[in-house]
Protein backbone atom coordinates (compact mmCIF):
# COMPACT_ATOMS: atom_id res chain seq x y z
CA UNK A 1 0.00 0.00 0.00
CA UNK A 2 1.29 3.42 -0.87
CA UNK A 3 1.92 5.69 2.03
CA UNK A 4 3.08 9.22 2.49
CA UNK A 5 6.76 9.14 3.20
CA UNK A 6 9.09 12.02 3.78
CA UNK A 7 11.60 11.24 1.06
CA UNK A 8 8.97 11.55 -1.64
CA UNK A 9 8.59 15.28 -1.20
CA UNK A 10 11.57 17.51 -1.80
CA UNK A 11 11.90 20.55 0.38
CA UNK A 12 9.61 19.14 3.03
CA UNK A 13 12.22 18.42 5.66
CA UNK A 14 11.55 21.56 7.59
CA UNK A 15 7.83 20.90 7.75
CA UNK A 16 7.84 19.39 11.17
CA UNK A 17 4.61 18.84 12.96
CA UNK A 18 3.41 20.38 16.11
CA UNK A 19 -0.01 21.28 17.35
CA UNK A 20 0.01 24.66 15.70
CA UNK A 21 0.76 23.27 12.29
CA UNK A 22 -2.11 20.81 12.65
CA UNK A 23 -4.46 23.57 13.76
CA UNK A 24 -3.41 25.57 10.72
CA UNK A 25 -4.61 22.73 8.49
CA UNK A 26 -8.14 22.68 9.92
CA UNK A 27 -9.67 25.18 7.47
CA UNK A 28 -8.32 23.17 4.51
CA UNK A 29 -9.61 19.95 5.98
CA UNK A 30 -13.02 21.51 6.53
CA UNK A 31 -13.19 22.79 2.96
CA UNK A 32 -12.30 19.40 1.55
CA UNK A 33 -14.70 17.55 3.84
CA UNK A 34 -17.51 19.97 3.01
CA UNK A 35 -17.03 19.45 -0.70
CA UNK A 36 -16.74 15.71 -0.19
CA UNK A 37 -19.85 15.24 1.93
CA UNK A 38 -21.97 18.23 0.97
CA UNK A 39 -23.05 18.53 4.59
CA UNK A 40 -21.74 20.90 7.25
CA UNK A 41 -22.20 18.66 10.26
CA UNK A 42 -21.04 15.48 8.61
CA UNK A 43 -18.03 17.29 7.21
CA UNK A 44 -17.00 18.64 10.60
CA UNK A 45 -17.54 15.20 12.14
CA UNK A 46 -15.18 13.82 9.54
CA UNK A 47 -12.62 16.53 10.29
CA UNK A 48 -12.89 15.83 14.01
CA UNK A 49 -12.40 12.10 13.48
CA UNK A 50 -9.43 12.88 11.26
CA UNK A 51 -7.77 15.11 13.86
CA UNK A 52 -8.30 12.56 16.61
CA UNK A 53 -6.94 9.77 14.46
CA UNK A 54 -3.95 11.92 13.47
CA UNK A 55 -3.07 12.59 17.10
CA UNK A 56 -3.45 8.91 17.89
CA UNK A 57 -1.07 8.03 15.09
CA UNK A 58 1.32 10.82 15.88
CA UNK A 59 4.17 8.49 16.68
CA UNK A 60 3.96 7.12 13.13
CA UNK A 61 4.26 10.48 11.51
CA UNK A 62 7.62 11.60 10.21
CA UNK A 63 8.51 14.96 8.75
CA UNK A 64 6.94 15.14 5.34
CA UNK A 65 3.81 16.37 3.67
CA UNK A 66 1.53 16.90 6.65
CA UNK A 67 -1.43 17.95 4.53
CA UNK A 68 -1.28 14.86 2.33
CA UNK A 69 -0.95 12.68 5.42
CA UNK A 70 -4.06 14.25 6.94
CA UNK A 71 -5.98 13.82 3.69
CA UNK A 72 -5.01 10.16 3.59
CA UNK A 73 -6.35 9.69 7.12
CA UNK A 74 -9.54 11.45 6.14
CA UNK A 75 -9.87 9.34 3.02
CA UNK A 76 -9.58 6.12 5.02
CA UNK A 77 -12.19 7.32 7.49
CA UNK A 78 -14.48 8.47 4.71
CA UNK A 79 -14.24 5.16 2.89
CA UNK A 80 -14.90 3.11 6.00
CA UNK A 81 -17.89 5.29 6.85
CA UNK A 82 -19.18 5.17 3.29
CA UNK A 83 -19.21 1.39 3.46
CA UNK A 84 -21.70 1.53 6.25
CA UNK A 85 -25.22 1.79 4.77
CA UNK A 86 -26.11 5.09 6.41
CA UNK A 87 -23.82 7.18 4.38
CA UNK A 88 -24.54 6.44 0.73
CA UNK A 89 -27.23 8.99 1.14
CA UNK A 90 -26.45 11.79 -1.16
CA UNK A 91 -28.86 14.65 -1.38
CA UNK A 92 -31.70 13.98 -3.77
CA UNK A 93 -33.19 16.64 -5.98
CA UNK A 94 -35.00 18.32 -3.15
CA UNK A 95 -32.18 18.19 -0.64
CA UNK A 96 -29.48 20.65 -1.53
CA UNK A 97 -25.93 20.49 -0.42
CA UNK A 98 -25.08 23.07 2.17
CA UNK A 99 -22.85 25.75 0.87
CA UNK A 100 -21.19 28.69 2.50
CA UNK A 101 -23.22 31.87 2.32
CA UNK A 102 -22.68 33.97 -0.78
CA UNK A 103 -23.85 37.39 -1.74
CA UNK A 104 -26.01 37.32 -4.79
CA UNK A 105 -28.84 35.01 -5.52
CA UNK A 106 -28.19 34.08 -9.12
CA UNK A 107 -24.73 33.19 -8.01
CA UNK A 108 -26.15 31.05 -5.22
CA UNK A 109 -28.38 29.12 -7.59
CA UNK A 110 -25.53 28.41 -9.94
CA UNK A 111 -23.41 27.23 -7.05
CA UNK A 112 -26.15 24.94 -5.88
CA UNK A 113 -26.43 23.40 -9.32
CA UNK A 114 -22.73 22.87 -9.29
CA UNK A 115 -22.62 21.39 -5.79
CA UNK A 116 -25.56 19.14 -6.55
CA UNK A 117 -23.88 17.84 -9.67
CA UNK A 118 -20.68 17.28 -7.74
CA UNK A 119 -22.59 15.35 -5.08
CA UNK A 120 -23.89 13.03 -7.79
CA UNK A 121 -20.48 11.87 -8.83
CA UNK A 122 -19.35 8.52 -7.50
CA UNK A 123 -17.30 9.13 -4.37
CA UNK A 124 -14.08 7.84 -5.86
CA UNK A 125 -14.33 10.28 -8.73
CA UNK A 126 -15.35 13.15 -6.51
CA UNK A 127 -12.35 12.55 -4.25
CA UNK A 128 -9.91 12.75 -7.15
CA UNK A 129 -11.53 15.86 -8.55
CA UNK A 130 -11.27 17.55 -5.17
CA UNK A 131 -7.72 16.49 -4.35
CA UNK A 132 -6.47 17.67 -7.73
CA UNK A 133 -8.82 20.54 -8.57
CA UNK A 134 -9.49 22.02 -5.14
CA UNK A 135 -6.50 20.99 -3.05
CA UNK A 136 -4.00 21.18 -5.88
CA UNK A 137 -2.25 17.96 -4.94
CA UNK A 138 0.07 16.48 -7.53
CA UNK A 139 -1.26 13.37 -9.25
CA UNK A 140 1.39 11.40 -7.37
CA UNK A 141 0.30 12.72 -3.99
CA UNK A 142 -3.35 12.12 -4.82
CA UNK A 143 -2.46 8.52 -5.65
CA UNK A 144 -0.71 8.15 -2.30
CA UNK A 145 -3.57 9.71 -0.39
CA UNK A 146 -6.01 7.29 -2.00
CA UNK A 147 -3.64 4.30 -1.97
CA UNK A 148 -4.18 3.64 -5.67
CA UNK A 149 -1.86 3.61 -8.68
CA UNK A 150 -1.43 6.89 -10.50
CA UNK A 151 -3.13 5.41 -13.57
CA UNK A 152 -6.26 4.95 -11.48
CA UNK A 153 -6.10 8.58 -10.43
CA UNK A 154 -5.91 9.64 -14.06
CA UNK A 155 -8.80 7.47 -15.16
CA UNK A 156 -10.99 8.62 -12.25
CA UNK A 157 -10.08 12.21 -13.03
CA UNK A 158 -11.02 11.68 -16.64
CA UNK A 159 -14.31 9.94 -15.91
CA UNK A 160 -15.18 12.35 -13.12
CA UNK A 161 -14.60 15.43 -15.23
CA UNK A 162 -16.55 14.03 -18.10
CA UNK A 163 -19.46 13.04 -15.91
CA UNK A 164 -19.50 16.37 -14.13
CA UNK A 165 -19.52 18.09 -17.49
CA UNK A 166 -22.50 16.04 -18.58
CA UNK A 167 -24.34 16.69 -15.32
CA UNK A 168 -23.74 20.41 -15.51
CA UNK A 169 -24.98 20.40 -19.09
CA UNK A 170 -28.16 18.73 -17.90
CA UNK A 171 -27.38 15.38 -19.49
CA UNK A 172 -27.48 12.93 -16.69
CA UNK A 173 -25.63 9.78 -17.66
CA UNK A 174 -27.77 6.67 -17.65
CA UNK A 175 -25.96 4.88 -14.85
CA UNK A 176 -26.65 7.76 -12.53
CA UNK A 177 -30.38 7.02 -12.75
CA UNK A 178 -29.75 3.57 -11.34
CA UNK A 179 -28.10 5.11 -8.34
CA UNK A 180 -30.93 7.53 -7.75
CA UNK A 181 -33.49 4.73 -7.37
CA UNK A 182 -34.21 4.33 -3.68
Amino acid sequence: MASITPGALPGSRLVTMNRNTIVAEIPRLRRYARALTGDVVRADDLVQDTLERALGKWALWRPGNLRAWLFSIMHNLFVSQARSPRVVDYPGDEALPELPARGNQGDALELRDFARSLARLPEEQREVLLLVGLEDLSYEDAAKVLSVPIGTVMSRLSRGRERLRALLAGNEPAEMHLKAVK
Partner: protein, 254 residues
Protein backbone atom coordinates in the same frame (compact mmCIF):
# COMPACT_ATOMS: atom_id res chain seq x y z
CA UNK B 1 5.65 20.31 -35.23
CA UNK B 2 4.12 16.96 -35.93
CA UNK B 3 6.78 15.20 -33.89
CA UNK B 4 5.76 17.29 -30.89
CA UNK B 5 2.05 17.06 -31.24
CA UNK B 6 1.27 13.60 -32.49
CA UNK B 7 1.52 11.90 -29.10
CA UNK B 8 -0.89 14.04 -27.11
CA UNK B 9 -3.22 11.84 -25.12
CA UNK B 10 -6.00 12.53 -22.71
CA UNK B 11 -3.73 12.36 -19.66
CA UNK B 12 -1.65 15.13 -21.06
CA UNK B 13 -4.74 17.21 -21.70
CA UNK B 14 -5.70 16.88 -18.04
CA UNK B 15 -2.18 17.81 -17.00
CA UNK B 16 -2.49 20.80 -19.33
CA UNK B 17 -5.81 21.83 -17.79
CA UNK B 18 -4.27 21.50 -14.33
CA UNK B 19 -1.23 23.58 -15.24
CA UNK B 20 1.17 20.73 -14.62
CA UNK B 21 3.12 20.75 -17.89
CA UNK B 22 6.46 22.33 -18.60
CA UNK B 23 6.67 25.12 -21.13
CA UNK B 24 7.61 22.88 -24.06
CA UNK B 25 4.75 20.42 -23.61
CA UNK B 26 2.34 23.23 -22.86
CA UNK B 27 3.20 24.85 -26.16
CA UNK B 28 2.78 21.54 -27.96
CA UNK B 29 -0.65 21.00 -26.42
CA UNK B 30 -1.72 24.54 -27.25
CA UNK B 31 -0.73 23.99 -30.85
CA UNK B 32 -2.65 20.74 -30.94
CA UNK B 33 -5.74 22.27 -29.34
CA UNK B 34 -5.75 25.06 -31.90
CA UNK B 35 -6.47 22.40 -34.47
CA UNK B 36 -9.01 20.51 -32.36
CA UNK B 37 -11.75 22.92 -31.32
CA UNK B 38 -13.92 20.22 -29.73
CA UNK B 39 -11.20 19.22 -27.31
CA UNK B 40 -10.32 22.85 -26.75
CA UNK B 41 -13.88 23.39 -25.58
CA UNK B 42 -13.71 20.33 -23.32
CA UNK B 43 -10.46 21.42 -21.73
CA UNK B 44 -11.94 24.87 -21.14
CA UNK B 45 -14.88 23.27 -19.35
CA UNK B 46 -12.54 21.24 -17.14
CA UNK B 47 -10.85 24.44 -16.13
CA UNK B 48 -14.17 26.07 -15.38
CA UNK B 49 -14.98 23.09 -13.15
CA UNK B 50 -11.86 23.82 -11.14
CA UNK B 51 -12.81 27.48 -10.80
CA UNK B 52 -16.30 26.53 -9.70
CA UNK B 53 -14.89 24.20 -7.06
CA UNK B 54 -12.97 27.09 -5.56
CA UNK B 55 -15.87 29.46 -5.98
CA UNK B 56 -18.21 27.06 -4.18
CA UNK B 57 -15.98 25.93 -1.34
CA UNK B 58 -13.25 28.49 -0.71
CA UNK B 59 -15.56 30.49 1.59
CA UNK B 60 -15.26 27.57 4.04
CA UNK B 61 -11.67 28.70 4.60
CA UNK B 62 -12.91 31.98 6.04
CA UNK B 63 -15.45 30.47 8.40
CA UNK B 64 -14.70 30.44 12.11
CA UNK B 65 -13.37 27.03 13.05
CA UNK B 66 -15.74 25.32 15.51
CA UNK B 67 -14.20 25.00 18.96
CA UNK B 68 -14.70 21.25 18.98
CA UNK B 69 -12.25 20.93 16.10
CA UNK B 70 -9.60 23.09 17.70
CA UNK B 71 -10.07 21.00 20.83
CA UNK B 72 -9.71 17.80 18.83
CA UNK B 73 -6.31 18.98 17.62
CA UNK B 74 -5.08 19.16 21.20
CA UNK B 75 -3.36 16.09 22.51
CA UNK B 76 -5.41 14.46 25.27
CA UNK B 77 -2.33 13.89 27.35
CA UNK B 78 1.28 14.76 27.11
CA UNK B 79 2.60 12.73 24.26
CA UNK B 80 6.36 12.45 24.21
CA UNK B 81 6.62 12.14 20.41
CA UNK B 82 4.54 15.28 20.00
CA UNK B 83 6.68 17.18 22.43
CA UNK B 84 9.85 16.06 20.79
CA UNK B 85 8.49 16.88 17.35
CA UNK B 86 7.60 20.34 18.57
CA UNK B 87 11.04 20.71 20.08
CA UNK B 88 12.69 19.69 16.82
CA UNK B 89 10.48 22.13 14.92
CA UNK B 90 11.61 24.90 17.22
CA UNK B 91 15.20 23.97 16.80
CA UNK B 92 14.79 24.12 13.04
CA UNK B 93 12.99 27.46 13.12
CA UNK B 94 15.35 28.80 15.74
CA UNK B 95 18.29 27.93 13.55
CA UNK B 96 16.82 29.73 10.58
CA UNK B 97 15.66 32.76 12.51
CA UNK B 98 18.87 32.89 14.50
CA UNK B 99 20.87 32.88 11.31
CA UNK B 100 18.74 35.64 9.81
CA UNK B 101 19.09 37.75 12.94
CA UNK B 102 22.84 37.32 13.06
CA UNK B 103 23.30 38.33 9.48
CA UNK B 104 21.07 41.38 9.48
CA UNK B 105 21.20 43.05 12.89
CA UNK B 106 24.26 44.98 13.97
CA UNK B 107 25.64 44.02 17.36
CA UNK B 108 23.79 45.93 20.06
CA UNK B 109 23.26 45.17 23.71
CA UNK B 110 19.84 43.64 23.54
CA UNK B 111 18.62 40.22 24.59
CA UNK B 112 18.27 38.23 21.44
CA UNK B 113 15.09 36.42 20.59
CA UNK B 114 17.16 33.27 20.48
CA UNK B 115 17.66 33.51 24.25
CA UNK B 116 13.89 33.41 24.72
CA UNK B 117 13.44 30.69 22.14
CA UNK B 118 16.12 28.46 23.61
CA UNK B 119 14.69 28.99 27.06
CA UNK B 120 11.15 28.18 25.94
CA UNK B 121 12.43 25.10 24.16
CA UNK B 122 14.23 23.90 27.26
CA UNK B 123 11.10 24.62 29.27
CA UNK B 124 8.94 22.64 26.86
CA UNK B 125 11.27 19.69 26.91
CA UNK B 126 11.90 19.37 30.64
CA UNK B 127 8.97 20.86 32.50
CA UNK B 128 6.59 17.96 31.65
CA UNK B 129 9.10 15.44 32.94
CA UNK B 130 7.68 13.46 35.83
CA UNK B 131 10.61 11.28 36.81
CA UNK B 132 13.60 13.35 35.75
CA UNK B 133 12.67 17.02 35.67
CA UNK B 134 16.08 18.02 37.00
CA UNK B 135 19.55 16.54 37.20
CA UNK B 136 20.22 17.65 40.72
CA UNK B 137 17.36 18.12 43.13
CA UNK B 138 16.78 20.96 45.55
CA UNK B 139 17.66 18.63 48.43
CA UNK B 140 21.26 18.90 47.27
CA UNK B 141 21.16 22.62 46.74
CA UNK B 142 24.70 23.26 47.89
CA UNK B 143 26.00 20.75 45.41
CA UNK B 144 23.69 22.09 42.70
CA UNK B 145 24.94 25.64 43.19
CA UNK B 146 28.59 24.62 43.31
CA UNK B 147 28.27 22.43 40.25
CA UNK B 148 26.41 24.91 38.03
CA UNK B 149 28.59 27.81 39.19
CA UNK B 150 31.69 25.85 38.28
CA UNK B 151 30.40 24.88 34.85
CA UNK B 152 29.23 28.37 33.99
CA UNK B 153 32.37 29.89 35.45
CA UNK B 154 30.55 32.35 37.70
CA UNK B 155 28.73 32.28 40.94
CA UNK B 156 25.12 31.30 40.49
CA UNK B 157 22.44 31.22 43.05
CA UNK B 158 18.87 30.17 42.35
CA UNK B 159 16.45 32.83 43.57
CA UNK B 160 13.92 31.94 46.26
CA UNK B 161 10.39 32.18 44.97
CA UNK B 162 8.46 30.72 47.88
CA UNK B 163 6.85 34.12 48.48
CA UNK B 164 5.39 33.74 44.99
CA UNK B 165 4.27 30.21 45.77
CA UNK B 166 7.04 28.42 43.89
CA UNK B 167 9.63 26.09 45.40
CA UNK B 168 12.88 25.06 43.81
CA UNK B 169 12.73 21.58 42.28
CA UNK B 170 16.36 21.57 41.19
CA UNK B 171 18.47 22.33 38.18
CA UNK B 172 20.28 20.97 35.20
CA UNK B 173 23.03 21.85 32.80
CA UNK B 174 22.22 22.29 29.12
CA UNK B 175 24.19 23.01 25.98
CA UNK B 176 23.75 26.61 24.82
CA UNK B 177 24.81 28.38 21.65
CA UNK B 178 28.12 29.49 23.16
CA UNK B 179 28.67 27.15 26.06
CA UNK B 180 26.85 25.60 28.98
CA UNK B 181 23.67 27.11 30.35
CA UNK B 182 21.85 26.40 33.58
CA UNK B 183 18.17 25.74 34.02
CA UNK B 184 16.49 26.01 37.41
CA UNK B 185 13.05 24.56 37.82
CA UNK B 186 10.35 25.65 40.25
CA UNK B 187 6.99 24.20 41.04
CA UNK B 188 3.95 25.48 42.90
CA UNK B 189 1.45 23.56 45.03
CA UNK B 190 -0.67 22.73 41.97
CA UNK B 191 2.28 21.27 40.12
CA UNK B 192 2.65 24.21 37.75
CA UNK B 193 6.24 24.66 36.72
CA UNK B 194 8.49 27.59 35.94
CA UNK B 195 11.98 27.48 34.58
CA UNK B 196 14.73 30.05 34.89
CA UNK B 197 17.29 29.78 32.14
CA UNK B 198 20.67 31.37 32.83
CA UNK B 199 23.27 31.90 30.16
CA UNK B 200 26.72 33.34 30.63
CA UNK B 201 27.80 35.72 27.87
CA UNK B 202 31.35 36.43 26.82
CA UNK B 203 30.89 40.17 26.97
CA UNK B 204 29.25 42.51 29.39
CA UNK B 205 26.10 43.87 27.80
CA UNK B 206 25.14 46.20 30.60
CA UNK B 207 21.56 45.93 31.62
CA UNK B 208 18.48 45.69 29.46
CA UNK B 209 14.78 46.03 30.04
CA UNK B 210 12.56 43.03 30.38
CA UNK B 211 11.29 41.70 27.15
CA UNK B 212 8.34 39.43 26.75
CA UNK B 213 7.47 36.90 24.11
CA UNK B 214 5.29 33.85 23.72
CA UNK B 215 6.67 30.73 22.13
CA UNK B 216 4.06 28.08 21.42
CA UNK B 217 1.95 28.89 24.43
CA UNK B 218 4.88 29.42 26.77
CA UNK B 219 5.35 32.92 28.09
CA UNK B 220 8.95 34.11 28.46
CA UNK B 221 10.38 37.20 30.15
CA UNK B 222 14.02 37.66 29.29
CA UNK B 223 16.71 40.19 29.95
CA UNK B 224 20.45 40.74 30.03
CA UNK B 225 22.32 41.79 33.13
CA UNK B 226 26.05 42.21 32.99
CA UNK B 227 27.54 39.01 31.67
CA UNK B 228 24.36 37.00 32.09
CA UNK B 229 21.27 36.42 30.05
CA UNK B 230 18.16 35.33 31.94
CA UNK B 231 14.86 33.96 30.73
CA UNK B 232 11.93 32.98 32.90
CA UNK B 233 9.45 30.67 31.19
CA UNK B 234 6.05 29.44 32.25
CA UNK B 235 2.67 28.54 30.86
CA UNK B 236 0.83 31.29 32.66
CA UNK B 237 -0.63 34.76 32.27
CA UNK B 238 1.76 37.52 31.37
CA UNK B 239 0.98 39.57 34.49
CA UNK B 240 1.65 36.61 36.81
CA UNK B 241 4.87 35.79 35.07
CA UNK B 242 5.98 39.44 35.22
CA UNK B 243 5.40 39.48 38.98
CA UNK B 244 7.70 36.49 39.38
CA UNK B 245 10.27 37.82 36.90
CA UNK B 246 10.43 41.00 38.94
CA UNK B 247 11.05 38.99 42.09
CA UNK B 248 13.82 37.07 40.34
CA UNK B 249 15.43 40.27 39.16
CA UNK B 250 15.31 41.86 42.60
CA UNK B 251 16.97 38.88 44.22
CA UNK B 252 19.70 38.79 41.62
CA UNK B 253 20.33 42.52 42.15
CA UNK B 254 19.89 43.07 45.88
Amino acid sequence: MNTNTRSIGEQELHAFADGRLDAARRAAVETWLAEHPDMRQTVAEWRIQGEQLHHAFDPVLDEAVPARLTEAAKPASRLPPLRMAAAIAWLAVGGVVGYAVRSSVPAAPQPSASLARQAALAHAVFSPEVRHPVEVGAAEETHLVAWLSKRLGAELKPPRLSAQGFDLVGGRLLPGEAGPVAQFMYQDARGQRLTLYVRRDTQDSGETAFRYTRENGIGVFYWLDGRFGYALSGEMEKADLLRIATAVYQQLNP
